[in-house]
Structures are given as structure tokens and as C-alpha cells.
Amino acid sequence: MPAAESRWRRWLDSDIAWSFRRSPVAILAAVVALICVVGALFAGWIAPHDPFDLASLELMDALLPPAWTAEGRATYLLGTDDQGRDVLSGILYGARISLLVGVGSVVVAMVLGVSLGLLAGYAGGSIEAFIMRVADVQLSFPAILIALLVDGVVRVAMPDSAHGGQALWVLIASIGLSGWVQYARTVRGSTLVEKRKEYVQAARVIGRHPVAIMFHHLLPNVLGPVLVIATIHLATAIITEATLSFLGVGMPVTTPSLGTLIRVGNDFLFSGEWWITVFPGLALVALALSVNLLGDWLRDALNPRLR
């Protein structure tokens, strides 16, 4: 595959790759994020236990401290929770759900925000005014509040959605809906700049449909900043999910995300079983911080003025 190889070489030679190699923070963040992502994706193979398999839980093994302490057991490296669930496995599986919700809600927010931003920027007039006023109004509320609101509405509308698989989609939808504004505003701004450029006019002269112009011409040119926002938003979305789960409106205990694990563990913080909450907490910090640092680096790397 010489073509692929040369593309890889070109990538290695690009400014982004160069700036990455020059940034120890970015490398460290990437390594940590990679560990988190690999651990989450391959939880089924890596994790010593399956925390979702209720049959494998041993209640008699509950509340064991980490392996290196006197009462710890080697089979439970980071100890067990009150149900005898392996904390390490819980973290790996929990990170998978956190990542899934994070990525899912970023995709929802991105698709929604980019489409609305493109539409607002390209169509202008009352469509733009309407979309952007809605965005302004939403922006005056904290994202977590919007997410709580959406979540609450869905729960009232579908009372059983709080459980099982549906909770995941509800979470993705509510966090996604709370985050589209940033994308829409950025994309609208870039679209306003891009649509005045002559290549857009050229496409109009050719007679291309406005939707085609929006998606074929404008979209690729406004995606740069979107990528940066998406990365930073991923960290925010993971945190938001954790917050919602911590508040008890996120993932249920039977399929815990990192936030749920922290909430469950929180009850044991006073009583000395610190490992139940501290390790998921550290995992969350590592995941969110590394993704956020990567986003910061990407923003700087893509912004020539800061270079």
C-alpha cells in the first residue's frame, strides 16, 4: 500500500503532527486518553470480571479493599464495592458507557448544531434570527440545567425510560440537546465568512442547489473549529454525564457509568471504603482532563495566531 504509506508520511510531516511531537502535554494527554479509550473499548477482554453479569457477583466478597492493602485480595486489584463488584472492572465498563454517552451526545450536538449553524448562516434573515435567538436563550442557561430539563421531560413522558438501555439514549439526547449552541454559533460565524467567498458564488452561478452548496462547499470549510469544539465538548459531555449520574438521573446502578460509580461510592466515603469512589473519580479526572488537554492543544495547533 504505497499510497497509504505516503499519506501516513505526509501526515507525519504535517504541521499538526509536528506541533504534537513538540508538545509533551499533548503527548501525555494522548497517552492517557488512549489508555482510557482502549481500556473502555476492550473492557470485555481486559476487565478481570464482568460487572454487568449479576451471576458473577459474590456478595460475600463485598467491600474488599484494594489488593495492596492487608485485607485486599489479588483477584480484586482495586477492591470491591458493596455488592462485591470489582472496582477495576466497574471502571473499565463504566468508562465505556461514559465514553459512549460522551461521543454520542457530541455527535448529536454536532449534527444538530452544525446543521442549524449552516442553515442560519447560509439562509440568513428570519430563519437565522430565529435560530440564533433560540441559541441565545439556551446559552443563558447552564448546560447541566438544560440536560436536566430534557431528561426530566423525557422521564415524565416515558416513565420507564430511566431504566435499562433507554437511559443511555435519554442521556445522549439530553446532553446532546444541551450542547448544540456552541457548534451552531461557531458554524454560523464561519459560514457567514465563507458564504461571501467567491467559490460559493461560483457554485451558485453553476446552479447548484443551496443544500448542496451548504453541505458540499461550506461544510468542509467550517469543520476545522468544529473539530476543536467537539474535542473539548467531549470532555464536557463526559463530565455532564457524570454529574447527571451523580445526581441520580443518569445511568442506573445496574449499568453504571463512571458518574454512577462515583455516586454509589460516595455513600461509602465517610465509612472508610474510599476505594469505591476514589478510583472511579480518578478515572473520570484522567479521562476528562486528557481529552480536554488534547482539545486545548488542537485548538492552539489549528490556530496560526497562537503558534
Binding site: 449479576l54 451471576a55 456478595l59 463485598a62 445496574t254 455513600d267 465517610f270
Partner: protein
């Protein structure tokens, strides 16, 4: 110039503050207490649930009450006697006024009877045995029971008397279910005869009580105000106690008991609760609402119920989840309940292998799936117990789809019997086994019979015995009949009793408060040093 004025202002203000503060300290004694949940309403007939009855029990009173030792005491009735097998004469306390100023009379008792047994009432169980109430005069009534009913004074102790005039005036003739979005005057306001008045209430936020200076009794407390706050999160509740924000919290999570004990300013008050935690199974429907088994109901098969029973490692629950302070139960009532049968209080052994065998005998060699409903803010570690049960059942092949939710969502489902498998707890309000047999284990029927029998367990023998126990005056016969009923139920595995949980309060050392086995928190016995 401006500076001088403002300084003088400041000085005056500071003095005023200091004086005010001193006066405040001398007079005001506010008692702050917290529970993990709030009452749904302050209408005492709206919901038969301990937090509501406990809270409103400070404002409303019943004909009979409970003393510090949980004994039956005169309250709005000064004395009573059985005048015929089915007739009881209650002499009412004179010169008692409701908080709105209206006098308490026999009419109010009759009104409260109609209200408690009427539409919307959740407390029918307490008046179910009563056929009618006859007014003798303004201060005496005859209560006629349908059948001879020996434990009437115990049974009516949680049936609170409301003012007829007040209810009529404020359009609160019937209790309404706030869960259905309806509310009336009595949902957030109260006018009882009790030692405390309801000063204000913000549902879910706080409820404020102040002493009733015109109470008929002699105050045994020394507080000037009591503020109740629901704090759902265990850690937050404990933190509120430790930080001094709360004077008393209930419950203290078991894992936090050592920590509170080690605090020199705090104490833990713990005693076995009368409540029995149990599992219920739908044994009526031909097909379970939440299961992958179609066309039949596995729980109708005793072998399945027994398999569930024997799959549960109660020792593990006791030592790990209950931190060693629960009392495993073999029957549906606690040892402190009148009629408890010690020789029956033995559990089937934990035997996962046997459970699997029973399941395959019953035709489920690879198990089945069932939905389980569970409260997560009602009992001690309720959600955790359910999770543990789910994982234990998973080991024998029963896949449990657990729905753990706040009690406000949980209870309506159980009461309407729209559950397949559930966890609940029961305290016989009359302190008598009959209440458990009648409300929990009898076939759901007219009025309050089997009202809390969420799985509709039904055995005509139990029903018949229960009726006869209610009418039996001979203590020995009665005890035998109770034992017989429990034996039948135990043999049927109508429910799976789990354990009695401890009542665990966290208090400041400066607070004295009486703990009774039904975990009512009476402000009338609170003293703050």
C-alpha cells in the same frame, strides 16, 4: 460626614444584633430533623406510610395513642370498654380544641371515620373492622364492629381524627392523591388537636412545626420550633448531622454508624424495628406483567417461589449489606409484634443448588427473566438489597430486570398490584400480628382486606383464620390461630420474609428523643439541652 453617620449606624445595628441574638438564644430552641424522604402530603388519610403518619402524628391525634414504651395510651378517648362483643364505648376527651379553634366532638370522630373509609383514603385498614360509629352524646361514642374485634384500641391508634368543620370549610372532605396531580387544602395545611401545629410546609423542602400552647396534655418537650427537612442522599444527610446543621437524622446509613459513634458530640440510637422486609411475588395473574415467560405465571408454582427463597443468601445480606445489624426473619412479623411465633421463625436454608433443581423441576431448567420493582429511598439499603437479590437469583438462572426507584413511584405500582416481583416492608400499626395477616396476607377483597398484598397471595384458610383471629377474645386460642395462619403462609411461601432492619438514628448528644419500634418520631418527647 457620611462616614461618621454610617459608623454610628453600624454600631447601633451591632448592638441590636447582639441583643436580639441573646434573646433568641435564651428563648428559641429549634429542633431540626431530617429523614431520607418527605411525606407525600400532610393529609393523614392520604397515604398509609410511616413518614407521613409519623410527621402528621405530631399534629393530629387518634382515639388511642402510643406511650414511650409503645403501650396503648388514651389520647382523644379518655377511656374505653367493650360493652358487647361487637360494641365498644369510647368516652371522648372534653374541652379539646382543634388548632383552628373549633371544639372536638363526637361528630368529628364520625366524620373522620367516614373520611378514612371513603373514597381516596389509604388508611381504610385501620377502620376496616368498624361497621358503624354511633354517637352517644357529644363526648361519647359507640363503635360497632362487624365481628368481635379484640384489638380495636390498637388498630385505631393510627387513624387520626380531623375536624369536620375545618374540612367542610376548606373543601377537604376527601383525601386526594397528590401523585395524580390533585391537591386540596388538607394536602399542605393541617388542623389537628395534637401537641404541635403545622406552621408551614414546602413539599420536598421543609415542614415547620410549632408547639400548640392550648394542647390538652402536659408538654414533655422543651422545643419552641421543629423543622423537618427531607435529605435523600445518605452522605449529605450524615454530613448535615456532623456539621451541626441537623439535630437528628434518620436513617443513618449502616456504614456510617462507627463514624458517628466516634464523634464526641453525636450519638447513634439503634433498636430493632418492628418492620419486616420481605419479597412479594405476583401469584394471581395468569401471565406475569414483566417476564419472558408467556402464557403462564412461574410464581404460581410453589417450587419456583421456594427456589427464589433458597437462592437468597440472607447471611451475606446481613453481614455485607446490613453490616451485621439486621435480624433475619422467618415469618412476616417481628418478635416485638403481638402474636409473633418464635418456633416458626426459621428460614429455609440457603441452597443455590437446590434452587436450581427446584427450577428445573418446575420446568425452568435455564431459568427465566422477571422484572423486579424496588424502592431506593424507603428502607435501610433497600436498593442494595435488591441488587444483591438480583445477583443471587442470577446465579440460579433467574435474570432479574431491576427497577429501583423512589418510593413515590414505587408504591403506586405495588398498591395497584402492577408488579411481578417486588421488595417491601411492613409494620403492623396495631403492633399485632392480625394487622399483617389482614392487610398483607389476606386475599385482596372488600375494603382494606389484603390492601397491601401486592402479589395477591391467596389462601382461603388464611383469610378465614384472619377473620376469626380478629373476633377472638381468648388470648390462647387467638395465639394458636395466629400460629396456624403463619404456618400455612410459610408453607405456601406466600411471601419471602427477609429480615427486620434496625432503626438507626443519628442525634446530637444534647438531644433526647424516644425511639419506638414503629420508628415514629414524636416531637412531644424531644428535649434539647
Amino acid at each position: 460626614m457620611i462616614r461618621a453617620v454610617s459608623l454610628r449606624h453600624l454600631g447601633a445595628w451591632a448592638i441590636a444584633c447582639a441583643v436580639g441574638l441573646a434573646a433568641f438564644q435564651a428563648e428559641a430552641r429549634t429542633f431540626r430533623f431530617a429523614n431520607q424522604g418527605d411525606a407525600l402530603s400532610v393529609d393523614p388519610h392520604m397515604h398509609n406510610e410511616a413518614v407521613l403518619l409519623s410527621l402528621t402524628g405530631n399534629v393530629y391525634e387518634a382515639l388511642t395513642g402510643r406511650g414511650r414504651k409503645f403501650e396503648i395510651t388514651p389520647e382523644l378517648a379518655t377511656d374505653w370498654k367493650q360493652t358487647a362483643p361487637t360494641v365498644w364505648r369510647f368516652n371522648l376527651r372534653k374541652n379539646v380544641k382543634f388548632h383552628d379553634g373549633s371544639p372536638f366532638t363526637a361528630d368529628d370522630v364520625i366524620f373522620s371515620f367516614e373520611r378514612a373509609k371513603g373514597e381516596g383514603s389509604d388508611v381504610r385498614v385501620y377502620v376496616a373492622a368498624i361497621r358503624e360509629i354511633r354517637k352517644v352524646d357529644a363526648n361519647a361514642i359507640d363503635i360497632v364492629t362487624t365481628e368481635p374485634f379484640t384489638i380495636l384500641p390498637q388498630t385505631v391508634s393510627r387513624w387520626y381524627i380531623m375536624s369536620k368543620k375545618w374540612c367542610e370549610k376548606n373543601g377537604a372532605m376527601r383525601p386526594v392523591d397528590v401523585r395524580k396531580g390533585t391537591e386540596n387544602y388538607a394536602s399542605t395545611r393541617a388542623s389537628g388537636t395534637g401537641p404541635f401545629k403545622l406552621e408551614s410546609r414546602q413539599p420536598g423542602v421543609k415542614t415547620v412545626f410549632v408547639p400548640n400552647p392550648e394542647w390538652w396534655g402536659k408538654a414533655e418537650h422543651n422545643i419552641t420550633e421543629a423543622i423537618f427537612t427531607p435529605i435523600a442522599n445518605d452522605a449529605t444527610r450524615v454530613a448535615a448531622l456532623i456539621s451541626g446543621e441537623m439535630d437528628m437524622v434518620d436513617p443513618v446509613p449502616l456504614q456510617d454508624v462507627p463514624r458517628i459513634r466516634s464523634n464526641p458530640d453525636l450519638q447513634v440510637k439503634q433498636s430493632p424495628e418492628m418492620r419486616t422486609i420481605f419479597l412479594g411475588m405476583d401469584q394471581k395473574r395468569d401471565e406475569l406483567l414483566f417476564s419472558n415467560v408467556k402464557g403462564k405465571n412461574p410464581f404460581k408454582d410453589k417450587r419456583v417461589r421456594q427456589a427464589v427463597y433458597q437462592a437468597i443468601d440472607i447471611e451475606a445480606i446481613r453481614t455485607r449489606i446490613m453490616r451485621g445489624v439486621s435480624t433475619p426473619a422467618g415469618i412476616m412479623v417481628a418478635p416485638s409484634v403481638e402474636g409473633f411465633v418464635p418456633e416458626l421463625n426459621k428460614r429455609l436454608p440457603f441452597d443455590a443448588e437446590g434452587a436450581r433443581r427446584l427450577l428445573s423441576e418446575a420446568g425452568y431448567p435455564s431459568g427465566f427473566e422477571v422484572g423486579m420493582n424496588c424502592p431506593n429511598d424507603r428502607y435501610v439499603n433497600d436498593g442494595e438489597i435488591c441488587q444483591a437479590v438480583a445477583s443471587m437469583l442470577a446465579k440460579v438462572g433467574i435474570k432479574v430486570n431491576l427497577v429501583a426507584e423512589p418510593k413515590t413511584q414505587f408504591f403506586p405500582k405495588v398498591l395497584s398490584r402492577n408488579v411481578s416481583f417486588y421488595l417491601a416492608g411492613w409494620t403492623p400499626a396495631s403492633q399485632d400480628a392480625h394487622n399483617a395477616l389482614f392487610a398483607l396476607m389476606s386475599t385482596p377483597g372488600e375494603g382494606a382486606q389484603g390492601q397491601f398484598n401486592g402479589g395477591a397471595y391467596s389462601n382461603p384458610k388464611v383469610d378465614d383464620l384472619t377473620r376469626r383471629i380478629g373476633a377472638e377474645n381468648d388470648p390462647a386460642k387467638r395465639t394458636n390461630m395466629i400460629a396456624e395462619a403463619f404456618r400455612i403462609h410459610q408453607d405456601d411461601i406466600g411471601h419471602i420474609p427477609l429480615h427486620q432492619q434496625p432503626i438507626t438514628w443519628g442525634l446530637r448528644k444534647s438531644v433526647e428523643m424516644v425511639q419506638i419500634p414503629d420508628n415514629f418520631q414524636y416531637l412531644r418527647w424531644v428535649t434539647v439541652k
